[in-house]
Each structure stands twice: as structure tokens, then as C-alpha cells.
């Protein structure tokens, strides 16, 4: 009897150990860190307990810049990538020949190393003494002035970052939306055709309501993903994101923890908790809004 009581826990033991050490304990500990003022990583001592870390982070110009960058990235890439994915998926589901080929190609960015392919984007957009780069060449064909997208003005850097982010996140969205579109019952479309419903009306009245749960899912995961943007920015602008003025909130957390400006786990914790609070709030708002719309 005793033996069989113990057995399930034995099976669970490795998972519980790993999760306990590297998820549950850190989750509690991060709040402790964030409240310890003047924590020193080397001597593991601190002066007192309070909310100073939060106020430090909230007044740090680097953090405010990171928040601004992240918000811009979220506001631009989430709608653009979701809309683009919807258009592409609609196109994909309306064709038969070559569909598999297109789907395979569209999925490629998902299986590539973000850091590695980011280098390719960097050389495509960069302007050096030797060459203006391919993108600038194309801009010049259309009569525009060439811009350095990697070391140049803020809007140019933001454009590349948004473009690369959309390029990276689209495969997942296209995949989800194509399977959502494929699961819509074809009888609805047949009925609409018999009634002579216009294509636009069919889309807004049948397709969109049927796939709206998936769109909500993509918007929510898109928000969460975009708020956690980091490696895309590193890939394009290098590891010193503060110097490039292109840091993100997650980047700020890691810079505080480690690297040239690191050694401040308390500030890093406070920033990570602020990020988590923002993401949680936005996710809840998203869920509430979508629930209200469905009612």
C-alpha cells in the first residue's frame, strides 16, 4: 500500500525538482530581489527593504527609452503582422496548385536562427564607406535619398527593427490562420453563394466571425511576444543596445543583470516585474474586450 502511494511522486520527482529549482523558487525570489535596496551581488548584502529599485528603474532614462522602443514595436508590429498574415492566409486558402510550396517557404523564418539571419538584414540595410547597401540602392532607383538604417536616424532603425520582427513572427501567424480558415465549414460558403452574397460580405459576415477566436489568440500572443522582443534587436544593432538607443525592456533587464552595465539584479528584477505587470494588464484588457465583443 505504502509503495503504490509513493510511486506517482517518484515519477513526478524529476519534473518537480527542475520546476521547483528553476521556476517556482526564482519566481518568489525575484520579488524579494526587487525589494532589497542596494543589493550587492558580490557580497550578497543589502541596506534595507523598500520600493527604491522600482523608482530608480522608472526614472532611468535608459529604461524609459526601452519602454518607448518596446511600445512602438508592439503598436506597429502586432497589427501589421496580424493583418498581413490574414491577407496571406486568405490568398493561400483560395489557391490549390503551389499552395504547399508557398506554405513551406513562408514557414522558413521560423526555423532559422534569429541572430544569424539578423546579420543578413543588417548587411542589406547597412550603409558603409564601401557600399550603400542593397536597400539604399533600391531607394535610390525610386529617387529617394539613401539612409543608414543601422547607425542612422531613430525612425530608420525603428523601421528595420519592425520589418525584421514582422518577418520573424509571420510564419507562426500564417500557419495558425491558414488552419483556422481551412476548418471553416464549406457549407456556409455554399449557402452564401446560393444567396448571391458578395465576396466582401461573405468575408465580414462568415469568415471573420468564424476565425475571430484565432485572431484574438494571435493578437494576445503577438502582444506578449512583441513586449519580450530582444534578440531581434541584438541581431540588428549588436549587444550594446543602450548605445544604439534601440534597447527593449527585456534588453534592459539583461543589461542590468550582466554585461558592461550589469551587476544589479535588484534593478533587473524590478524592471522584469514592471514588464510582467504591463503584459498581464494588456492581456487581461485584450481578453475582456474580445469577450465583450463576442457577447
Amino acid at each position: 500500500m505504502k509503495h503504490s502511494d509513493l510511486k506517482p511522486w517518484l515519477y513526478l520527482l524529476p519534473a518537480i525538482l527542475f520546476l521547483g529549482c528553476f521556476m517556482v523558487y526564482p519566481l518568489i525570489d525575484v520579488f524579494v530581489y526587487s525589494l532589497e535596496e542596494g543589493y550587492n551581488f558580490a557580497s550578497q548584502t543589502y541596506f534595507g527593504v523598500g520600493t527604491y529599485n522600482y523608482s530608480y528603474v522608472l526614472h532611468d532614462p535608459y529604461f524609459l527609452q526601452a519602454v518607448k522602443n518596446t511600445l512602438l514595436l508592439v503598436v506597429i508590429t502586432v497589427p501589421v503582422s496580424t493583418g498581413l498574415a490574414l491577407l496571406i492566409s486568405l490568398g493561400l486558402s483560395s489557391i490549390k496548385p503551389l499552395r504547399d510550396l508557398f506554405q513551406t517557404i513562408y514557414f522558413l523564418p521560423y526555423v532559422t536562427n534569429t541572430l544569424a539571419v539578423g546579420l543578413v538584414f543588417m548587411i542589406l540595410f547597412q550603409k558603409t564607406e564601401y557600399t550603400d547597401g542593397l536597400v539604399n540602392l533600391m531607394i535610390q532607383w525610386f529617387g529617394g535619398p539613401s539612409v543608414d538604417f543601422i547607425d542612422g536616424p531613430y525612425w530608420a532603425k525603428m523601421t528595420v527593427l519592425c520589418f525584421y520582427t514582422v518577418w520573424v513572427v509571420l510564419p507562426f501567424k500564417i500557419l495558425i490562420l491558414t488552419s483556422a480558415l481551412a476548418s471553416v465549414n464549406p457549407d456556409y460558403y455554399k449557402a452564401a453563394r446560393v444567396d448571391g452574397t458578395s465576396r466582401f460580405r461573405t468575408f465580414t459576415r462568415i469568415t471573420l466571425p468564424m476565425i475571430s477566436p484565432m485572431i484574438v489568440y494571435l493578437v494576445i500572443t503577438g502582444f506578449i511576444g512583441a513586449f519580450k522582443a530582444y534578440s531581434d534587436a541584438v541581431a540588428l544593432f549588436g549587444t550594446d543596445l543602450n548605445a544604439a538607443g534601440m534597447n527593449t525592456i527585456v534588453g534592459y533587464v539583461y543589461d542590468m543583470l550582466y554585461g558592461a552595465s550589469g551587476g544589479y539584479p535588484s534593478y533587473a528584477s524590478a524592471a522584469a516585474i514592471i514588464l510582467f505587470a504591463i503584459v498581464l494588464t494588456i492581456t487581461c484588457v485584450n481578453l475582456l474586450v474580445s469577450r465583450r465583443q463576442n457577447q
Binding site: 513526478l12 517557404i105 541572430l115 542589406l124 558603409t128 540602392l137
Partner: protein, 293 residues
């Protein structure tokens, strides 16, 4: 003899058909345009990687093709920087992490799916709630833990915090539960132990899901950047992501872009090959809940 109404109908049909044709052509053009956007960076890295250093830097206007491809950049990628070392490290890291993850997840999923014990639902609920915890929150303490255990710049330090995946436990549990109870009862009657049943019956039956999970984890490991960057500063232990960043900042000299692109190609090829082989499985697995993160 044609009835006037019939010609009208015919004409309407014809314009309808023409419209459908134009729509189809436009759809294909738009889809091809995006396919080009996706493929072009890959083409560009391949192309640049076979241009010689001299000819690349002599191009004020980038050439869209080259007539004298060379493999010297690939030689440079493996000799001037320790790319082979980075690849080997990533391979070791990926294999070990994935193997431990699979073992831990299978055992836990089996307990949730087949065994009865007090507090099972509560424990499972606690597991599920951990899925919402973003990595960014726990990474700070994990960094302190690994540093405290003196495991920085070791494989153990790289691997241990990367093992846990609640989502995969959940996915496996769902799959295990679909296997009919009768098989389990029959095995119990025959006196088969739980572990033997898991190993000989459940795992072979659920192999497709297990393979999916393993492939998803491999992709995740191959691309991981943040954690390896935190716990390794010794280039001997760099994974490919950190390696490529190191190459960019200190390797080859800043201007040797063709050699850099050769390294990028070498790093990208294994995963693309894996994807082309397991295309269906990967896409199915990702649509069931993979998020690039």
C-alpha cells in the same frame, strides 16, 4: 438560334470567369511577392558567402549574382574563428537538453495520465499555472543560482535551467490519456510493471507526439541565445548564437562580410534541413502551441 436571355447569361458568365481569372492572377502575384521577401535574405547570404573578399568590397553597387563563386569563405569560417567548436557545443547542448527534457516530461506525463494519487488535480493545476510564467522573471534568480553553484561556463549550467517545459508535459499527458484503458488493465493483469508498460506500450504508441516535442525542443535549443549569453563568457563554450555575435563583434575583422555570411549559412543549414525532412510534423507541432520566444 439563341434566346436573348441566354446570350446575356453567357456574357455575365464570361465576365465572371474573367474576373475570377484576374483575381487568381493577382493572388498568385501577391503570394509570390511575399515568398520573394522571405527567400531573398537566404539567397543574399548564400550569394555573399561565395563572393571573394576582394570582389565583395570592390562592389559599390551590390551585384545580384556572381560569376566566380569561391569556397574560401567557408574555409575561413572554420579556421579563422572556432565555428566548428560552436557547432559542436550547440550539438552537445541540444542533444543533452532534449534528452533530459524528454525523459522528465514523459515520466511526469505518465504520472498525470495513468497513476492515481491524492492531490493529482491540484498538482496538475499548479503545473499548468507555471505555463504563464515568462522566462524573463525567473532568469535573474537562475543566473544567481548558477553563479552561486559555480556552474558558469559549464554545460551543466547551460542545460539544467533549460530542461523544464510544462507545455510539453501537458501535450504528452493529453496524448497518453487517449490510449485506451483496456491496454493498461491487460498489462496489469499480466503483471507488467508500470515502468515496463510505459516503455514497451505507451511510448511506442505515442511516438508521433514524442517526436514532435523533440523536434520543437531541438529548434528551441539551436536558437537559444539569452541564457547561453548570460552564463558563458568563455568562447570555448559558446553556442552558435553567441558565436555569431562574437564573430560579428570580434571575428574576421569587421569588414569581412563574406566570411561572416559563410558562417551564417553553416549555422542555418542544419535546421533548414531538419525542417525540410520533418516539414509536416514541425508545422503540425507548432500549430498545436509552439511559440517562438
Amino acid at each position: 438560334m439563341n434566346h436573348p436571355n441566354q446570350t446575356d447569361l453567357e456574357r455575365i458568365r464570361q465576365t465572371e470567369r474573367r474576373r475570377a481569372l484576374v483575381r487568381k492572377a493577382l493572388t498568385y502575384m501577391a503570394l509570390a511577392l511575399w515568398a520573394l521577401m522571405v527567400l531573398f535574405p537566404f539567397y543574399w547570404m548564400l550569394l555573399t558567402s561565395v563572393k571573394s573578399y576582394g570582389s565583395y568590397n570592390a562592389e559599390r553597387i551590390p551585384a545580384l549574382f556572381t560569376l566566380s563563386p569561391t569556397l574560401e569563405n567557408y574555409k575561413a569560417a572554420f579556421t579563422a574563428v572556432p565555428l566548428g567548436r560552436y557547432l559542436l557545443n550547440t550539438l552537445v547542448f541540444t542533444v543533452l537538453t532534449t534528452a533530459i527534457m524528454a525523459a522528465v516530461s514523459i515520466l511526469a506525463a505518465y504520472a498525470f495520465a495513468r497513476l492515481e494519487f491524492k492531490g493529482k488535480n491540484l498538482v496538475f493545476l499548479l503545473f499548468l499555472s507555471l505555463m504563464m510564467i515568462p522566462n524573463e522573471l525567473v532568469v535573474i534568480t537562475n543566473f544567481a543560482t548558477i553563479t552561486g553553484l559555480d556552474l558558469r561556463n559549464t554545460f551543466a549550467g547551460l542545460i539544467l535551467p533549460s530542461v523544464t517545459s510544462v507545455f510539453y508535459i501537458y501535450l504528452l499527458k493529453e496524448n497518453f490519456e487517449q490510449v485506451p484503458d483496456e491496454l493498461y488493465k491487460a498489462a496489469r493483469v499480466d503483471g507488467t510493471s508500470d515502468f515496463k508498460y510505459l516503455w514497451k506500450v505507451l511510448i511506442p504508441i505515442c511516438r508521433p507526439t514524442i517526436v514532435t516535442i523533440i523536434i520543437l525542443k531541438i529548434i528551441e535549443c539551436w536558437n537559444s541565445y539569452v541564457w547561453p549569453r548570460l552564463v558563458t563568457d568563455n568562447p570555448d563554450l559558446f553556442l552558435v548564437s553567441n558565436g555569431i555575435q562574437e564573430i560579428r563583434e570580434n571575428g574576421f575583422g569587421r569588414e569581412n562580410i563574406p566570411a561572416m555570411m559563410a558562417a551564417v549559412v553553416v549555422i542555418s543549414v542544419p535546421l533548414i534541413a531538419l525542417f525540410l525532412v520533418f516539414r509536416k510534423k514541425i508545422m503540425e507541432g507548432v500549430s498545436r502551441g509552439g511559440m517562438k520566444g
